[in-house]
Amino acid sequence: MLIKRPRPGDSARIAPSEITAEDVYFNRRKLLKAALALGAVGSVATSTASERATLRYTRNERYSTDEDLTSFEDVTTYNNFYEFGSGKGDPAARSHRFKPEPWSVTISGHANVTGTFALEDLLKPHALEERIYRLRCVEAWSMVIPWIGIPLGTVLRRFEPTSKAKYVAFKTVHRPEEMPGQRGRVLPWPYVEGLRIDEAMHPLTLLAVGLYGKPLLNQNGAPLRLVVPWKYGFKSIKSIVEIRFTERQPPTSWHLAAPHEYGFYANVNPNVDHPRWSQARERRIGGGLFDSRRPTLMFNGYEKEVASLYAGMDLRRFY
């Protein structure tokens, strides 16, 4: 199950290979990783297709809104996922060839434990929870989505990030054969995103594997995506293959594409407009032809939970 690809420089510490026979060294690392991936106990078992078809989870009421859910139909047919095309219907229409299984994620950078892990192993020690979050797109529309996942922080802590880990960088898979949008140069591929370490560790930040009780569909970022509910949707990177702990602020795709329009922080903020449109009000998807826009809330309504992360920061400058 473990896809082991240790590389020189994997660890920031003195490489024990200098003092240990190489095969023993690699074995030790392998054992360490296996123990980590399995939560120290249990046998490695691949989940069957039927197991994946429904997820077992418990609702986290504390972090859920009681607003009306956006319909499954709308959540799975109206998407921004430029890897499959720039039209809202493209991700649902053009993602059939994408294969989210098998999947592995590489963890690298400033952490004691790094390497490449099969998705099942990455998730195994954790209980899944459902959280109903508002999602606010930078284009001024919004949804309410019942996500299923794990708080990112609890996953990241297992890799023991070091004091040099000030940021976390994420990367989407690059598969032009399966992702038709990647054959055009609309954005620089692969898509990359990043968070400050405190944002990544915040209990609201979710590593999602499903929605509406089922595993993520391709158009929603299968099999693993981020959900950062107080930031514009483009921060919630999809189909993640790499997580890297970094010391410097990592580059992010939309910022690279249009630096004056999309910042690194991208916190939902009704008072700071996008240069080409207002962010003060939003359209809730599912409201129909005659539904009016509603006011956008500071930090998408999560102000109580996250405002302290940005105390003293000029949010106009760090947009």
């Binding site: 709308d74 055009g184 249009a258 080409r276 207002s278 003060a280 009000r281 032809l289 009016s292």
Partner: protein, 199 residues
């Protein structure tokens, strides 16, 4: 093509064809035959009207060159109808934005027109279309005489503003706006070339 055929057959057919996008929107708005306007109906309606406004503007601009290239003088008989339909769709695009999207929320509407360059130039294009629509009747043509032609050259800057508006509005995928820009380049470039070769 005989003028009578154009008048009795081609023009009515074109009239119906130009109504189809509007009918399709109404059809889906009332969810006839199980159809619908998708997850974001307001955007769908507004974008469809904007797209057809732009297509018809560019088609109107293509009539003169096509007439030349195809040696089909009768095409000019279709120009007024195309131009008026372009105006109608752009107006519907604007009204959709005003009423359904902005909900007649005047502070936002005025702020957007003043502050958002892509909306400002779209609005400018719409304003410039108004005098062209108003002076499109035969009586007006007679009354304005030579000045009518001068006035209707406004269609060139209008089309430039319209394509620019579209280009500025998209987030990153500028391929479609660039197709319109290229078409516009050909249609306007041809006029410049024609003019300079006549001198």
């Amino acid at each position: 093509m005989k003028p009578a055929v154009v008048r009795r057959v081609i023009k009515p057919a074109l009239f119906v064809a130009c109504l189809l996008p509007l009918l399709s929107i109404l059809w889906r708005a009332f969810e006839l035959g199980g159809s619908n306007l998708g997850a974001n109906p307001v955007e769908q309606v507004q974008d469809t009207f904007g797209q057809w406004g732009l297509r018809l503007l560019v088609t109107t601009l293509a009539i003169t060159p096509l007439r030349d290239w195809l040696n089909a003088p009768w095409l000019a008989m279709l120009r007024r109808m195309l131009g008026l339909f372009a105006f109608a769709y752009v107006s519907l695009h604007f009204l959709t934005w005003l009423v359904l999207d902005q909900g007649l929320h005047w502070p936002s509407i005025l702020a957007d027109i003043a502050k958002r360059p892509f909306i400002t130039i779209g609005f400018l294009a719409l304003l410039m279309l108004v005098p062209l629509a108003v002076t499109s009747t035969n009586a007006m043509m007679r009354r304005l005489g030579r000045r009518w032609k001068t006035l209707h050259r406004l269609i060139y800057p209008i089309c430039v503003l319209a394509v620019w508006h579209y280009y500025w509005q998209v987030k990153a995928d500028v391929r479609e706006p660039l197709v319109y820009a290229s078409l516009l380049g050909i249609l306007l470039g041809w006029r410049v070339w024609k003019r300079s070769s006549r001198l």
